[in-house]
Symmetry: C2
Subunit: 163 residues, 2 copies
DNA sequence: CTTGACTCCGTACCTAGGTACGGAGCTTAA
DNA sequence: TTAAGCTCCGTACCTAGGTACGGAGTCAAG
């Protein structure tokens, strides 16, 4: 549809010719990402750079939209771009166990972060509750806890900034 | 204690004189951070830079160790350096409500992250379980889910990379 | 008075995942 | 043919919280 100029929602302009495939701008719009993001994925080797057909403007197969969506969905599950590159490599025909291994590693990492965040959440919630119920002349319990408190209770060291 | 050279555990060297206070290296060691980290906190205005007593080497009051520990404990509860700067400013005499507001904001943020991580965790755990129980000839359920799946179920968009 | 350890200061680098800029060239509608 | 709008490519910038480097100065002990 819309080979000629008939309706085109997003900022129309010259972007197609008779050649097969779409230009990078159209690809990016279709995948709901920025052109710069597509180029970034190319630099990170998540997307191939098609051979430019003499002259310079490259044409992308429309399946590449699916590949970008794959990337985005994978990110939403917490995978890093490096992991997603592996997943894409394994996508067709790769061993299930390799895929599971990547997923399992990421799952462990997510659970670690979850545990760290839960500790923060409960410590902070406790302090906040304490502060709301403490009498007004006493020093703020939040500040007090942060000020000296060598007691563990609050945290095990170096759990906050774990990747 | 230990005004003279009597025992010094960590890599001795010239670091004190008759002047009051400690040098940056001693301060950093006492607070369990790197010298560069102390300087970084100075640049970020979490720590004051003492006037250098003619000649160049600055002397730090030992209370500054407590200040650095305050920063570290605050970080372990999830506060950003900007927030910690505020907390330090409010530490003595600041309004409790201002302190509570900072803590409450951070708590909300932590809970948001927690919710996002939980969604990731359960989606990923489900897929992994599915994959382990699926028969071997079928395509990997993880890949399948990432490949097309326009159905929501897995995620609400843009929840992954929230700050 | 030399030597070694430290300090001072500015600057660059790191992770992760992009975003932004800018000049040059291509494409196509008018 | 010209102008708009795109593409190409390299490079710099962003967040957050540091870490690393390197030259010059200082300080104290031997």
């Amino acid at each position: 549809m819309s080979k000629t100029t008939s309706q085109r929602p997003q900022s129309g302009g010259p972007a197609r010719s008779t050649a097969a495939g779409v230009t990078i701008g159209k690809l990016a719009r279709a995948a709901q990402v920025g052109v710069e993001t597509v180029r970034y994925y190319q630099r990170r080797h998540l997307l191939a750079v098609p051979h430019s057909a003499r002259g310079g403007v490259r044409r992308y197969p429309s399946e590449m939209v699916d590949r970008i969506r794959f990337i985005k969905r994978s990110q939403s599950l917490g995978f890093s771009l490096d992991e997603i590159r592996e997943l894409l490599r394994l996508e067709e025909g790769g061993s299930r166990s390799a895929i599971r291994k990547i997923a399992a590693t990421r799952l462990t990492n997510i659970r670690d972060k979850l545990a760290a965040l839960k500790r923060m959440e409960s410590a902070l919630a406790d302090l906040l509750r304490e502060c709301e119920h403490a009498n007004s002349v006493a020093p703020c319990p939040i500040i007090t806890a942060l000020s000296v408190d060598p007691q563990d209770v609050i945290f095990s060291p170096n759990v906050a900034r774990a990747a």
